[in-house]
């Protein structure tokens, strides 16, 4: 804890230092300045300065450069003839990748570095598909909708609907959101997953106990958590893609109890392979066992 406080103190002290001095931006021709823009676009000017974009103390913000014209381009032609097409950058009218290119001028690091070539870029979405600089509705991230989920549901209705199922992660309770697992701006992992380099590394970022490596690994678990679980939700316990024992019987059919039909007669007999948690009533260590006697995941 003392070392943490020391680091905190050093960082805070560094933060108080003046920002890196820099060269003034080139005064290219055609810029009219923010005061001219807000003559007509007062509301946009106001909303702009209520966001981080409007904080000129950050040298990477539009406010620190040409303000409105940093993103919209030099405004002289627009002032001369506002109705002239192409006189200024109007993002809703721009090709999505052109619109994104403007944003990526500054948003080119950390979580945005993989935007180009991402699944969303591939489908011709732009930053302005989800975000609004002047009319954001969300508490964070300047989203067009009130929340991350409300943004994603526009296209991903099936995944969001699954959050309403009985087996679900705490997304609808507000303890997680889509971006807890996914980076909509692209990632080096599969399926735009935010953490790690494979699906399991994302899941075990929170469920670290299941990452092993175990003395006895269960192959499909090692292969991918989504072999058996639907992370968006399902009607089954623990978000399983099917009920037990039917799910296990997709791979385990050999002889004796894995090959048995667990029908209503078995239910009436209260077979402990059908009721409750099914196979896991005994094979508890299904994610892997560290016991030398754990070959069938009973110990």
């Amino acid at each position: 804890m003392p070392s943490m406080l020391f680091v905190l103190g050093v960082l805070f002290a560094l933060a108080q230092a003046p920002a890196q001095s820099s060269t003034p931006p080139p005064q290219a021709s055609g810029y009219v300045g923010e005061d001219t823009c807000v003559t007509c676009h007062e509301a946009e000017g106001k909303s702009f300065h209520q966001t981080l974009h409007g904080k000129a103390a950050d040298p990477r913000t539009p406010a620190a450069a040409h303000s409105c014209e940093t993103c919209h381009g030099p405004g002289q032609a627009h002032v001369d003839d506002p109705s002239k097409p192409g006189s200024i950058r109007r993002f809703p009218l721009m090709a999505p990748r052109d619109a994104s290119a403007v944003c990526l001028t500054c948003h080119n690091r950390a979580g945005h570095v993989n935007w180009k070539g991402s699944m969303h870029d591939a489908r011709n979405l732009s930053c302005t598909s989800c975000h609004s600089v002047h009319n954001a509705k969300s508490e964070r991230a300047q989203l067009k909708a009130e929340s991350v989920t409300a943004t994603c549901v526009t296209c991903h209705t099936v995944e969001v609907a699954k959050q309403q199922r009985s087996g679900h992660m705490p997304v609808r309770e507000g303890k997680m959101e889509c971006t807890t697992c996914h980076n909509p701006h692209g990632s080096t992992n599969a399926r735009m997953l935010r953490t790690g380099n494979w699906i399991n590394e994302t899941c075990t970022a929170c469920h670290a106990e299941k990452r092993g490596p175990f003395l006895w690994d269960h192959a499909p678990v090692r292969e991918g958590c989504n072999t058996c679980h639907d992370p968006h939700g399902s009607s089954n316990e623990r978000m399983l893609v099917a009920k037990l024992p039917m799910l296990c019987q997709r791979c385990h059919i050999g002889t004796r109890h894995p090959s048995t039909i667990y029908d209503n007669n078995q239910l009436n007999a209260r077979s402990n392979r059908l009721i409750g948690r099914g196979c896991v009533n005994c094979h508890q260590q299904i994610h892997g066992s560290n016991s030398p006697a754990g070959n069938t995941f009973l110990r």
């Binding site: 890196q20 090709a95 072999t227 039909i261």
Partner: protein, 717 residues
């Protein structure tokens, strides 16, 4: 290995190039311009009041509160305070103060220089409020029955008797997450970041401790774990590229790595009749250390390449418990004293993206992930089942699974009009694996998509995907070795053909009215599977509308129907002649249907100073598993299982009245009704088990009806 070396070399080349070209950074513009509109702000808001819930008879309070805490009492919620000036931003947030689902956030931003954040959040998991157990915790990881006379009951025990011995308790656990992050811009081009995250889980969860087919025991499994994640990274960004180097560490520690519990049927160890206690390993402690380096290189105005390399080790070396706790058995000698388990993780990602012309977009991506399991085989000649008997283990030892995934994506997009794009993409994914029925699988996927946005208020997105996966190096003997049918194909590897189509349509004929619709179809067949999952289908449609005639009124609704079906095949057999008898074949047809309806109405200032919001959610999901026998079956007739269903209705109403510009009063009402019929968890099932075949915690699934009311004041400043 040669391929991996090439990937690493290519990645390093790109990284080096990115760093070299990145030196030509453009100086940042002068700060402080155009700040005339910036206003210092010191504002906040907080809700407080009381809450109470009335439940219907026999309601499942645990499910209603599965991931939240809705206990009656006073509350402080939605606390927000922030202050900003030209250079700084401070923020504090708190939700559900003092409750099990509380969270707190503190943010500081020195614009352009430092971001610091602290977050603490708790997520409760409330499994059951009607659980019962006769087990008591003698010490962490040791569950005893004490003198519970169930031992005396032997095979004649009943649920009724057990219930008199078992103590009711709330089965729950809590996840507490502390997250601290810093991001510091050392220079205009160099950013440093560090983070520390701690996840603590404490409580109990359903856990199995079996002694055999007729003695399955469900225990309140203790959970007391901590995961500490930390990381540091440096990122350099310039005009021509960027580079990042980082380290991530994750350390999982379990305070209870062994569980010991009493056998309810025996008080003495026996070499034939079983042990007095059971013992199993719980989650082992493990460390994950990962270093990564990545770079981005801009190639002219229209192209860029990125490279990413990550090297990591995952290891655990917990002491191994003996094969059995049964002192009447001679336990086999351990091959080694500790697990000595480790894996090397290597990941690479290379991309090239280009727009050679405004209407052409090209993308290539190569990604690999190598899970190289370095755990030495643990030799096992004899093993112990259920702490009851020593038996030969024919397989001879463990199977440390390894795999390497490689995927190549090639995509091209053409935008003939500004807001329309046509895309074709090809993906080839290969997976090499050890100890599986296939040594290798290859999946080729073709995707075609069309996206049109904002044309006369219409957005249409559609994608069609066809993929085929085939395996090679089939080892049917490996199936025979473990007593499976040779024509079984495990569904995560089996050959398959998949066709998918999905579309999204949004139409806004006027600025106040919009319609939306989605549809999807999935057809997944496994043509070479004799036994196992044969096919997996799904389709669904959704339709909705939003009507916002004014700032005062907003209406929206969307309905979705999904249906999924599966077909799997098995053969009921004992070893011997039955194993090869096709008249003993049977299939299971699985079916899942789900109806989802969401509706909302916002009435803002429709009446003076009053905002009212309504939401309604409805979900009705049904499942069925239907068995079928062959025409010439020699199996007895089947009696089909009942259909499963669950239905959830939720209505919320939130009314707020603004008394003064800084003070408001409001009432919130939630109505939630959950109905469920699950034969496996119904009280009529779990409460009527003839012991000792299954001694459960009786964490049954039950319906609930809940009416929750908040009375609250909102103060803002």
């Amino acid at each position: 290995m040669r391929t991996m070396r090439f990937e690493l070399a290519a990645a390093c080349w790109l990284l080096a190039a990115g760093a070299a070209f990145g030196q030509q950074a453009t100086p940042p513009p002068e700060p402080g311009q155009n700040s005339s509109l910036t206003r210092p702000a010191d504002e906040g808001t907080v809700d407080f009041g009381f809450r109470a819930t009335a439940y219907g008879d026999e309601s499942d309070r645990a499910r209603y509160q599965r991931y939240r805490d809705l206990r009656d009492g006073v509350f402080v919620d939605g606390f927000r305070w922030s202050k900003a000036d030209d250079r700084h931003f401070w923020e504090l947030r708190a939700n559900r103060v003092g409750y099990r689902d509380q969270d707190y956030v503190a943010n500081y931003n020195r614009f352009g220089r430092l971001k610091a954040s602290f977050a603490f959040s708790q997520i409760p998991v409330f499994f059951s409020d009607v659980s019962r157990t006769a087990y008591a915790t003698a010490s962490p990881g040791t569950l005893t029955l004490g003198s519970a006379p169930i031992l005396v009951q032997g095979g004649a025990a009943t649920s009724a008797i057990y219930n008199t011995l078992a103590t009711p308790f709330d089965l729950r656990l809590t996840r507490s997450i502390t997250d601290v992050r810093f991001a510091y811009n050392a220079t205009a081009n160099l950013g440093l970041s560090a983070w520390l995250k701690n996840i603590q889980k404490k409580g109990e969860q359903p856990w199995a401790g079996t002694f055999g087919f007729s003695n399955a025991v469900e225990l309140p499994g203790p959970v007391d774990t901590r995961t500490t994640d930390l990381g540091v990274a440096a990122e350099w960004t310039g005009a021509r590229g960027s580079a990042r180097v980082g380290y991530d560490g994750s350390f999982f520690s379990n305070n209870i790595t062994t569980l010991v519990w009493d056998n309810p049927l025996r008080s003495t160890d026996s070499p034939t009749a079983g042990p007095a206690h059971g013992r199993e390993s719980l989650w082992p402690n493990s460390d994950l250390n990962t270093g990564s380096i990545s770079g981005l290189l801009r190639l002219g105005e229209a192209s860029q390449a990125t490279a990413f390399v990550s090297l990591g080790t995952l290891s655990q070396n917990d002491a191994l418990i003996p094969y059995t706790i049964n002192t009447a058995l001679a336990p086999p000698a351990l091959d080694r004293a500790t697990a000595d388990a480790s894996a090397r993780l290597t990941a690479t990602a290379l991309t090239f993206n280009s727009r050679p012309a405004p209407s052409i977009w090209l993308n290539a991506r190569f990604r690999s992930y190598d899970f190289d399991n370095r755990t030495p085989e643990f030799h096992v000649a004899n093993t112990v089942a259920y702490d009851t008997s020593v038996a030969a283990f024919a397989e001879g030892g463990t199977s440390p699974y390894s795999f390497t995934r490689r995927s190549l994506d090639l995509e091209g997009s053409w935008t003939p009009v500004v807001h329309g794009a046509l895309r074709a993409a090809y993906t080839r994914e290969t997976v090499d694996q050890t100890f599986r029925t296939f040594d290798n699988t290859t999946e080729n996927t073709l995707r075609l998509s069309a996206d049109g946005t904002g044309v006369h208020g219409m957005t249409v997105r559609a994608v069609y995907e066809h993929s085929e996966r085939t395996g090679s190096g089939l080892d049917e003997q490996s199936l025979d070795d473990i007593g499976e049918q040779a024509s079984l194909r495990q569904f995560d590897l089996s050959n398959r053909k998949v066709n998918r189509f999905s579309t999204v349509v949004l139409f806004a004929p006027t600025s106040s009215l919009s319609f939306n619709g989605t549809a999807f179809v999935v057809r997944d067949t496994r043509p070479d599977t004799g036994f196992g999952l044969l096919d997996n289908q799904g389709d669904g449609v959704a339709a909705g509308a939003d009507y916002v005639p004014s700032d005062k009124l907003s209406l929206g609704a969307v309905y979705q129907f999904e249906r999924y079906s599966t077909l799997q095949k098995s053969r009921q057999a004992n070893p011997g002649a039955q194993f090869d008898d096709p008249t003993r074949d049977w299939t299971t047809s699985g079916r899942d249907h789900a109806h989802t309806l969401t509706a909302s109405a916002d009435l803002l200032k429709l009446w003076p100073k009053t905002d009212v919001r309504f939401t309604y959610d409805y979900v009705h999901a049904t499942s069925a598993y239907v068995y079928a026998l062959t025409a010439d079956t020699t199996l007895p007739p089947v009696s089909q299982l009942p259909e499963l269903f669950n239905t959830r209705n939720r209505l919320t109403a939130d009314a707020r009245y603004t008394i003064t510009p800084h003070v408001g009063a409001g009432v919130v009402y939630w109505f939630e009704r959950y109905e469920i019929d699950d034969y496996a968890f119904n009280p009529s099932t779990l409460n009527a088990v003839a012991l000792p075949s299954f001694i459960s915690l009786q964490a049954t699934y039950r319906p609930y009806t809940a009416n929750t009311v908040w009375g609250r004041m909102t103060v803002s400043w």
